[in-house]
């Protein structure tokens, strides 16, 4: 039996495109609350081991190819420190799988 994901890929493989984004972080504004890391649906981000000017761990991009430009990190950031930009569009089949 096909998994749900394979079904979806079959349905949407005919010409459907998904956006690809690029995350940008303003590291000195970040206070390290971790909302962007927790709520990113594709697991793009992780907290760094370095410190910024204020002494917090800021988010860095772990998996650059997965970002779908949903804008959730920008929406949930209380300190206006992270945002994503639209880069290009690509077919949905190339969407990488997120390991739970």
């Amino acid at each position: 039996m096909e998994s749900k994901r394979e079904e979806k890929v079959k349905v949407f493989s005919s010409g459907m495109k998904v956006a690809r984004g690029e995350v940008e972080v303003m590291r000195d504004r970040c206070k390290g609350c971790g909302f962007c890391v927790t709520y990113c649906p594709m697991g793009v981000l992780e907290l760094s081991e370095e410190y910024n000017v204020k002494g917090y761990h800021f988010p860095v991009v772990k998996d650059e190819a997965s970002c779908i430009n949903c804008g959730l990190c920008e929406m949930l950031c209380p300190d206006f420190a992270i945002w994503s930009l639209l880069k290009e569009e690509r077919p949905v089949i190339e969407l990488p799988r997120r390991d739970e």
Partner: protein
Amino acid sequence: MSFRAGMSKVTGDIHPSDSYLRVDAIPSVWCSGCGIGLVVHTFIQTLKYLRFDLNKLCVVSGLGCTGKIAEYLNLPSFITTNSNLFEYAGQLKSKNAGSKIIVFSNNADFLVSGAKDFIEIGKKNIDLTVIHINNIIYTITENGIFPNTPFRRMVTGQSDELPFNIPHLAKSCGAQYVARWTPLRAGWLMYSIIDTILKGNFSVIEVVSPCVTYYANRDQMGDAVERMAFYDHFAIMKPGESTENLDLRAHDRLIIGKFLDKDEI
């Protein structure tokens, strides 16, 4: 309708919302992971989405953590004293009939000393949008009990009174639009603010937002993410619920939704 419809393309080291902020003052004084930042960002997104004329807008805020909102927004804005918040906003509206007034209020602004003016404004149905950020304690005095503190909470000065019910107060005062959300439901909050800005009635939106610093010592609940997620999972969506059932009892779930809209299309 997409969330990012009103967004313009930006390059370089500038946040898309920077034109709405006083950039020199940022990073803000709010604690790491505070819900006020989320509410402010949602408000900015709303203005972007509506492409609102910023000359016809004024933001009024009072004291405390919430009072800093007017400081960080690059809009016509006023910080008022504690007891005069609603009186000030009402006068501003009566002198500038064409502009839209947004009030960011605090527990202390709302219940302790500003309630008289709030009731007056409600009776006259003055066109104000009140975004009330309820963090269920006095933020500055660490453990003090408050009319809004949930039933049998661990605080100094224990009392057995039921907590105050802000949506019901707003409805009884004559508000035309009453809603309650948590900060993580940013999309719902955004649509509520759009509704209230476009309709032009006296409308109250309550945002139940955790205090990250002072409750942390009492609750032992962990970091900001855990706390915000707890509030969000504890909440249950019941739109159209009678406002009498909406006080913050200890063992009931936090009811969120849009409860009253007399101007509904």
